[in-house]
Symmetry: C2
Subunit: 124 residues, 2 copies
């Protein structure tokens, strides 16, 4: 049934080059290289359609969804495919074919890394 809770929460993610990436934005000025890396991730979420697709996958039962589950965002199916590819290239999603369908799932470590980037100083 629902193997929902079995998500790997903070894998090293050495597959492509996602990596932990960066310290919080507020800690010190980012270097050009850090900015390049981080901007790529933010940019991927900087489109409304992609955000909806990403959110649809992230919130879907089991942490994954096939394209057919989420293509109802008001654009054509090739466009959906295009955006999913972008999200994949940014390291935010992974995909896997199972029979006729292709399933997308979120990369939790990257999501966590982005969250840390936006961390406010602890106001100590």
């Amino acid at each position: 049934m629902s193997n929902v809770k079995a998500l790997p929460l903070l894998e090293p993610a050495d597959g492509q080059g996602v990596a932990p990436c960066c310290p919080p934005l507020t800690e010190r000025p980012m270097t050009a290289q850090e900015a390049e890396t981080a901007a790529r991730m933010f940019k991927a979420l900087g489109d409304p359609v992609r955000l909806r697709l990403f959110s649809a996958v992230a919130s879907h039962e089991g942490g994954e969804a096939c394209v057919c589950d989420i293509s109802d965002v008001g654009v054509s199916q090739p466009t959906v495919s295009h955006h999913l590819k972008k999200l994949k290239e940014a390291g935010l999603l992974t995909s896997e074919r199972r029979g006729t369908w292709v399933y997308y799932r979120v990369e939790p470590s990257v999501l966590a890394a982005m969250g840390k980037l936006l961390t406010l100083p602890t106001a100590a």
Copy 2:
């Protein structure tokens, strides 16, 4: 001389239309409208130069910086100005003129809102 600790941490931010905006991406599929709003903020951070500028302001002493403090990012001065304007339009920065200089500071509530968006399920 350092009024550093007086940052307003979570103001309602009813000034322009920044607002709390959205539930975590993983909670439920975003609506088109939510996505539109949130994407605008992510998009603003989706450029390396803007990220560096934002990080420079955010990490600067006192939580604010004049343009002259942060213009060393490898692009011309008008371009810096252009990017700061974008960040301001996205609600991520505010600006204030004091004498000859214009000071930019981060909007903590918006940063916090974006951080919440990227929150992972509590794995309970």
